[in-house]
Structures are given as structure tokens and as C-alpha cells.
């Protein structure tokens, strides 16, 4: 469904994406991994239209999305948001999100899942960081879309909510949806990811199943596999 | 009607005769009712002194009617005197002539002769009342006359240029005349005085005249009070005159290029009391005038409240209100011996700790910005700019360019009522 063709992005002199060719056609949960600065957030932001690529193109359902915005009504996105308009309440934000994009919503499910019902009438400025992250998840996930993109969804969540989120994502992954997740929590990836895309220095280093990566690197767990990749690259000087 | 306390009207008999209608000479006077078909020249000529001619409704087309004996000319409603070829209509050379209730029109502009609807030459004790004069070159023209009154006339012209228009009331070499309750508009000057002494101008409304509402030249000991001058080229000009009293007049909306409410040029010993100056380009423009008292006047939203140029000394500026003028005082030259005190300045930012209604720090009304304006007039577009505030403020803290001697040591905290 999503295809990146020779995608390049430069911020000033800094080349962040160096010609990415990536076809994400298989359904299920895909983890986009990579060390800091490898370009994974930029890649997703390019797809969401928040970053404008220097070169190349991005296709969604075989149509270019560059300069368009309507395709986003089929994409749910959870970003790393800390501050919402501070004088609005979660209820008002939900109403706004519904105003901004049509379609069926399931906010009640999340209010129960994250036990938010007592917080829905309070101003955002009075809510704790964890609660705000829950509201953020709720706003991102409430629309029932085929494509879901999550940027560090676990940050700031308490263990119970994290468990609930995982089980929700697992269920969603089985519904023939495409879910893209960036995260630094490897156990989380091991637990839920069907596929892995590993970015290194703005290029695709690996794309495939988790087990293939482990066997390729000859490691038992993802964390050490990745540490190994990064270590190797450093020693061969390719990281420069 | 007449003010008995007025010092300019001494002959008591005259008052009795004319205001109470009794007197020996009147006893045999005839009253004749005229119509428009009759020949006015002939009738006036054959009339006896002290006769009354009453013009009934109709258009009387004549010019140069000479009135050389005491007569009363009165108009009934709709009696219109129209100039035959545009020359003068009435020429009065006798004393004790009354002209009342008539309408005059059609005196045309001439560049050779100062034609007027009514001219009085060397007459005394005249009365010109309740007449309407429209579209005449000059309205009422007085020369070498005295002890006459001009009451409640409405004189309007359609002046467009100074050269091609005359004055509504023009007086030359006169004394002891009273001009009261008239409405004067659309002429060159509303009232023009040249060599006119001991006269009173009261309760007139002079507006939309292209030069001055009222103009004094070489005239002394006159009073004008309770008049309104608005929307004239300039309000009032007093030039080369002495002992003029200006009381309770209103000068408003006299604005334009070099416009002022009141111009004082080379005059001495005048007093300006209880007047209102509203929204004039310059409230009072003073050039070389000495010993003038300015008190209890209100200057409201003028461009400049008072602008001094030329040597001005021994003036007294007290108990005036300076309210929201763009600039209050502008001093072009050195002032000396002037007394400025107890005025209310709406700009004053001082305080009054002892609550005696007098500010505890002096007020310096001349600003650096007005000094700059004298150098670069275009800088006016920067008025009220924050930068100009800073400049003015720093100058106020330590004056360098503005005169140190011009200040009010006792500024009032509240408006003078």
C-alpha cells in the first residue's frame, strides 16, 4: 500500500534520507527501527506530509501523495505530542478530531481502556504527562483506519496501560491493517512486530521478518542483534 | 434693545428719538406705501425729510438711488431691491437714515469700484436692520460715518477668490458704530474695519468667508464679544491696532494652509478674555505684539494653541485651558518679560502632593519637536511617534534647544471653569 521510491531528504547539508526504496505491501505490524538520527521519524513524517522530501516520491495506493492532504483521512497517526491547546478539554479535542475527519470512531473504547472517564472534562493544562499521552493515543487511534502509524507510543505510559495498548495493537494487526511503529523498546517489538524495517544512516539496512534478522546477525534477541549491527558499522567506519 | 451702559452712544436725545419714537421733528412726517411699478428715484427725491417709505411686496429694479435726506426705508415681506445693471443700489449721504426689512441682490463684482448693496457716506445716526443681502459684491459699505447701528442683517455671498469678492460689512474711517446680531457668510471678510474706532461688534455669526471672519486694520479702542467665527479662511485678524478687547468669542474650524483662529500682528495693549478656540490650525498666531492679556481662554484641539513669532514682550498668559492641542506653545523667537502662570495644560504630567490644585513642578510647554518642526516642517508626520516622545522627554529633562524661560511655574491640576 505504501511505497517509497528513491526518497531523499536533506536538512541543510545534513543528508538524512539517502535514496530509500521501500515497499510496504504486507499487512500486519511493522516496526521501523534504527539508531538515533537514522531517519526513521523523518521517513514517517515524509509519508504523513509533515516533511517535504528533497527528491523521490511516495505512493499510497499507487498514487503519489506529495502535496496532497486528503489521503490522510485513511491514516491514523499517533505522534509524540506533549502539549495540546491547554484550555481545551479532552472532550472538546475529541469533538474537534471528529469535526476534522469524518468516519466511524471508537473513542469510548479507549476511554474505558485507559480509564479516562474522570479526566474528560478537565482542561488539558491540568492533566499529567501520562494522561496527556493517553489522550494523544486516543485521538490518534479513535478513527478506524487501515493504516496506523505510531511514533514512540509507549513513552510515559504506566505498565497497565502499556499492556492494554499492546493487546489492542495485536488485535488490530490481525484485522488486515498496516501498522507502522517506531520505538526504542525492543521487547515491545519482539512481542508484537511481524516485520522489521531497519534504517541505518538514511538507508535501508534490513527489511524482513524478525527471525530473519536474528539469524542474519546470529543473535538470539533483537536488542543484541541491533547492538551488533551498530557496533559493526562503527568499526568499519561506515557510520561517518 | 440698546445697551444704555454702552459708552459709545452718548447723545441721549438721539436714543430717545429713535428708540421711543417721539421727538419734535417727527410730528409732520408722512408715511407712504410704494409698489414696484413706481419710480423710486423720483419718490425718494420728492420725499420730505423724516418721511417713511414703505416698499410693498415686489421686485424693485433700480440702481444708484441717492438718499440725501433723513428717510426711513422699510420693506414689507417680499420687497426685493435688485440692481438694474449690477451697480450700487442705495447710496446714503444724509444723517438719520433707517433701512429696514429689505432684500437686496444683484450688485455685481467690479474691479474699478467697490460696489455695495448699501453705501453710507458721511452719514450719522443710521440704522440698518433686518435686511437680507444676497449675492452682492460688497454688502454694507460705510465710510466716514459714526453713531450708526447695523442689526440683525443676513448678508451672504458666493465668494470664490479674494480678488473677485468684497466684504459683507466694510467700514472705513468710522467711529462709534455697533454691529450686532448679523449673519455674514460667503464674502471675502465678514466684517472689515479700517481706521474704525470706539465701535462694538457683538453676537454676530461670521462663517465660510474666504479670508477673515473679522478683520481690523489700524483700528483702536474697539470691542468684539460673543461672536462666532467658524470655517473662515482665518477667524479674526487684528493688525496694527491698539486697545482691542476680544471677549467671549468662539473661533472654530478655521483650518487650512496658513490658517488661524486669531491673528495678532503688530498690536499692543489688547485683551483676549474668555474666548474659545476650537480646532483651528493655529489658535492664535502672534507676530510682534506687546502687552496683551490672554486669560480664561480655552484652546481645544488646535494644531498649535498659540504661536509666537517676532518680538513679543510683556504678555500675560494666565488661567487658560490648553486642551489636547497638537502643540500648545510654539515660540519662534525670544520672548521676554512674559508672564505665564496658573494655566491648565492637559499635557501636564506633574503631581500635586499638597492638594492645592497647583502642580508641584513647573510645566514646560515648548517641546523639542516643535523646534524640529521649525527646521523640517515635513517631520510633522512623525508627531506622536514613540521616538518623538523619547526625544521630547530627554529634552524636558535637560533643555538644550527649547527656551528655558518659557514655563508655567504654577500649572493647574484641573480645568479652569
Amino acid at each position: 500500500m505504501i511505497r517509497f521510491l528513491n526518497l531523499e531528504k536533506r536538512f541543510g547539508r545534513n543528508k538524512v534520507l539517502k535514496g530509500i526504496d521501500l515497499d510496504l505491501s504486507q499487512m500486519g505490524i511493522t516496526a521501523v527501527l534504527g539508531p538515533n538520527g537514522s531517519g526513521k521519524t523523518t521517513l514517517l513524517k515524509c509519508f504523513l506530509g509533515m516533511v517535504i522530501p528533497t527528491n523521490g516520491s511516495i505512493q499510497f495506493k499507487n498514487e503519489s501523495i506529495l502535496g496532497r492532504h486528503l489521503y490522510r483521512s485513511e491514516i491514523s497517526h499517533v505522534s509524540q505530542i506533549v502539549y495540546f491547546p491547554e484550555n481545551l478539554t479532552p472532550n472538546e479535542l475529541i469533538k474537534m478530531a471528529k469535526d476534522l475527519r469524518p468516519g466511524t470512531t471508537r473513542e469510548k473504547h479507549f476511554i474505558e481502556l485507559f480509564e479516562l472517564s474522570s479526566e474528560m472534562h478537565k482542561k488539558m493544562s491540568t492533566l499529567s504527562g501520562g494522561t496527556r499521552q493517553k489522550i494523544n493515543l486516543l485521538l490518534g487511534l479513535m478513527h478506524d483506519n487501515k493504516v496506523i502509524i505510531l511514533d514512540e507510543p509507549s513513552s510515559g505510559l504506566d505498565p497497565v496501560s502499556f499492556l492494554n495498548l499492546k493487546s489492542f495493537l495485536k488485535k488490530e494487526g490481525k484485522k488486515n491493517k498496516q501498522i507502522l511503529i517506531t520505538t526504542h523498546t525492543m521487547s515491545f517489538v519482539e512481542e508484537i512486530a511481524d516485520h522489521i524495517v531497519f534504517l541505518l544512516n538514511g538507508q535501508i539496512y534490513f527489511q524482513g521478518k524478525l527471525n530473519d534478522l536474528l539469524s542474519q546477525e546470529n543473535r538470539k534477541d533483537l536488542e543484541s542483534a541491533i547492538a551488533n549491527i551498530i557496533q559493526q558499522k562503527k568499526s568499519t567506519g561506515l557510520d561517518a | 434693545m440698546i445697551n444704555n451702559s454702552n459708552p459709545y452712544f452718548k447723545p441721549i436725545q438721539w436714543i430717545l428719538i429713535y428708540w421711543f419714537g417721539v421727538g419734535p421733528i417727527h410730528l409732520h412726517a408722512r408715511v407712504t406705501l410704494l409698489n414696484a411699478e413706481q419710480d423710486l428715484h423720483q419718490i425718494v427725491e420728492s420725499a420730505q425729510p423724516y418721511d417713511s417709505l414703505i416698499l410693498s411686496q415686489g421686485i424693485y429694479t433700480f440702481e444708484n438711488i441717492l438718499i440725501d435726506k433723513p428717510l426711513t426705508l422699510m420693506g414689507q415681506e417680499g420687497a426685493l431691491l435688485k440692481s438694474l445693471n449690477g451697480d450700487e443700489i442705495l447710496l446714503v449721504t444724509a444723517d438719520s437714515v433707517t433701512i429696514q426689512g429689505l432684500t437686496f441682490t444683484g450688485v455685481k463684482t467690479s474691479y474699478i469700484k467697490e460696489r455695495s448693496a448699501i453705501r453710507i457716506d458721511k452719514g450719522k445716526y443710521f440704522e440698518i436692520k433686518d435686511n437680507v443681502i444676497t449675492n452682492c459684491f460688497f454688502g454694507i459699505y460705510l465710510e466716514h460715518v459714526s453713531h450708526g447701528v447695523i442689526y440683525n442683517n443676513r448678508i451672504s455671498g458666493q465668494a470664490t477668490t479674494e480678488a473677485g469678492s468684497g466684504n459683507a460689512i466694510h467700514a472705513w474711517y468710522c467711529s462709534n458704530i455697533q454691529i450686532k446680531g448679523n449673519e455674514l457668510k460667503g464674502h471675502r471678510d465678514g466684517i472689515y474695519f479700517e481706521f474704525v474706532d470706539k465701535s462694538l461688534i457683538e453676537e454676530n455669526l461670521s462663517f465660510n468667508n474666504i479670508r477673515y471672519g473679522l478683520h481690523f486694520m489700524f483700528s483702536n479702542d474697539d470691542i468684539y464679544r460673543k461672536n462666532t467665527f467658524r470655517d473662515n479662511g482665518s477667524g479674526v485678524a487684528v493688525m496694527f491696532s491698539k486697545e482691542i478687547k476680544m471677549i467671549e468669542n468662539t473661533f472654530s474650524h478655521n483650518w487650512g494652509g496658513a490658517s488661524y483662529g486669531l491673528l495678532l500682528k503688530e498690536i499692543n495693549d489688547a485683551s483676549i478674555i474668555n474666548n474659545q478656540f476650537n480646532q483651528n490650525t493655529i489658535g492664535i498666531f502672534v507676530e510682534g505684539s506687546n502687552r496683551i492679556t490672554y486669560s480664561n481662554n480655552s484652546f481645544r484641539r488646535n494644531g498649535w494653541a498659540i504661536k509666537f513669532s517676532g518680538g513679543c514682550s510683556a504678555n500675560e498668559i494666565t488661567n487658560n485651558n490648553f486642551l489636547n492641542n497638537s502643540l500648545d506653545l510654539v515660540v519662534g523667537t525670544k520672548l521676554s518679560d512674559n508672564e505665564i502662570h496658573h494655566n491648565y495644560w492637559s499635557e501636564y504630567t506633574g503631581y500635586d502632593l499638597d492638594k492645592n490644585n497647583i502642580g508641584d513642578v513647573p510645566h514646560y510647554p515648548v517641546k523639542l519637536f516643535s523646534y524640529i518642526l521649525n527646521q523640517v516642517p515635513e517631520a510633522i508626520v512623525l508627531m506622536r511617534s514613540f521616538f518623538v516622545y523619547i526625544v521630547n522627554f530627554s529634552e524636558k529633562v535637560s533643555p538644550v534647544f527649547t527656551p528655558k524661560e518659557v514655563f508655567d511655574p504654577t500649572p493647574l491640576m484641573h480645568e479652569v471653569q
Binding site: G49, M50, L70, R72, E86 | -
Partner: protein, 260 residues
């Protein structure tokens, strides 16, 4: 766009800075009314204050609001809405709430004082209108500054300098120029120079109402034709609107090329 506008206004009318700002103008206007019975004096004082303060508050508030809204803007960017709509909505909402704050703060006390029925009503409208226009102009400049500077400290610095430039430095240089070239005919240059500073334009429009007598008194034909003519007022208004439209257009251009 309208939806974003609606929620932005809805958020900002409950913003404590705006409430404080409204309260400040309410108190100021009430105090001035109590100090002076003369409505025109109140209006002159208010115009002096607003001509200086509204650009400053507009630019600082705009920068602050943009930086505080970066997360919110990212949230909106992932919605199926164009960038132009998002920023039109957010900027429009912010400018509207800022203007509302001025209208309430300056307007209510004067309306109660009966400004509708005095001859100074036109002046009141001009003073209020200029305060609103300057707020909009300077908050749009603020958005541009914030869009170009991701470093907040730098953004605030540039904003303050921009205000200082238009409020003080520009007029200082202007006056200096006039004094240096005072022997030359300066009228056209003077009129031209005012066009490049929105504060000067607003101030002159106010002057044309408050101090027209002074302006007319001093200078020659060019000024007289310009200031003594309703056309002059129209030109200034049009220029002020250009000062809103052009920065807004610039802002949208930048928005459509920026990476968030």
C-alpha cells in the same frame, strides 16, 4: 479552516494571557475615563498607548503562541487538511481572539461612557481599528519569525528587535534623514517612507483624525492634497491591509515549504 479557527478561538478566549491583556485594557480605559471627563482626551491617551503596545503584544504573543502550539500544529498536520487551511485557521483564530480582547478591553468602558453618541465616535473607531490592525499585522510577522526560527530564544529576540525597529528605530532614522536633507523638497519622500512602517501608517491615520489641523498647518501642497483628502485615508487603509495580506501570504508560502 473554519473548524480549526473555531477551536483555536475557543481555546484562546480562555487563555490567561489574553484575559490578563483584556483586563489591563479594561482597567486602563476605566482609569482614563475617571481621570478625565473629556472623551477626546481619553482617546488621545489610549491611541498613544495602543500604537506602542499593541504591536509589542501582538508580536510577542504571536511568537509565544506559535511555539506553544508546535505540538498541536503537528497533530493537525497529520489530519486530512491542507497546510494552508491549518495555518489560516490557527492564525485567524489567534488574530481574532487578540482583536476580541482589544475590542472588549477598550470598547466596553467607552461604550458605557456613551461614545456612540459623541462626535468623537469616529476617533474611537479609528483608535480601536488601528489597535486591531496593528495586532493582526504584528502577530503575522510573529508567525513568520517563529516559522523561520526553531530556536525559541532566537525567535523571541528577533521578535523584540522587529518591534523595536518599527516602533522606534525606523522613526529615528527617518527623522535623521529629514534633518540631513532638510534643504531639499522632502514631501514625497516623507510620504513614501511612512508606507514602509505599519505603525507609522496607523499613527498617521490617527493623526488625520486627531491632529489634522497641525498637519495641514505646516506644510505644502503635497501634504495638503494627501491629508486633506478622503483619498489619503483610503490609501493608508489599503496599505495597512497590504501589510496584513503580504505577510500572511509570505507566511503561507513559508508554511508550504517548511518541514515540521
Amino acid at each position: 479552516m473554519l473548524k480549526i479557527f473555531k477551536y483555536t478561538v475557543y481555546d484562546l478566549i480562555r487563555n490567561r494571557w489574553l484575559i490578563f491583556y483584556t483586563g489591563f485594557f479594561l482597567l486602563l480605559t476605566i482609569a482614563l475615563i475617571f481621570l478625565s471627563n473629556d472623551v477626546s482626551k481619553v482617546l488621545i491617551s489610549l491611541s498613544n498607548i495602543t500604537l506602542m503596545l499593541t504591536p509589542l503584544v501582538g508580536i510577542l504573543y504571536g511568537v509565544m503562541y506559535y511555539y506553544n502550539s508546535e505540538d498541536y500544529i503537528r497533530f493537525l498536520l497529520s489530519q486530512p487538511i491542507s497546510r494552508t487551511s491549518i495555518f489560516s485557521g490557527i492564525f485567524g483564530g489567534m488574530a481574532t481572539s487578540l482583536s476580541l480582547s482589544l475590542i472588549v478591553g477598550l470598547g466596553t468602558p467607552l461604550l458605557i461612557r456613551g461614545v456612540l453618541f459623541v462626535p468623537e465616535f469616529i476617533t474611537f473607531i479609528i483608535v480601536l481599528g488601528m489597535a486591531v490592525l496593528l495586532s493582526i499585522i504584528f502577530s503575522s510577522l510573529a508567525f513568520i519569525i517563529a516559522l523561520y526560527n526553531s530556536n525559541r530564544i532566537k525567535g523571541f529576540g528577533v521578535a523584540i528587535f522587529t518591534w523595536l525597529f518599527f516602533a522606534v528605530i525606523y522613526d529615528g532614522l527617518f527623522l535623521l534623514l529629514l534633518l540631513i536633507f532638510k534643504d531639499y523638497p522632502l514631501e514625497n519622500i516623507t510620504l513614501g517612507l511612512t508606507m514602509f512602517n505599519p505603525i507609522d501608517l496607523a499613527r498617521i491615520l490617527t493623526l488625520m483624525n486627531l491632529d489634522i489641523s497641525a498637519i495641514m498647518g505646516y506644510t505644502g501642497a503635497v501634504f495638503k492634497n494627501f491629508f486633506g483628502n478622503p483619498l489619503g485615508m483610503m490609501i493608508i487603509l489599503i496599505l495597512l491591509i497590504c501589510w496584513i495580506v503580504l505577510p500572511f501570504y509570505w507566511m503561507l508560502r513559508k508554511v508550504n515549504r517548511k518541514d515540521f
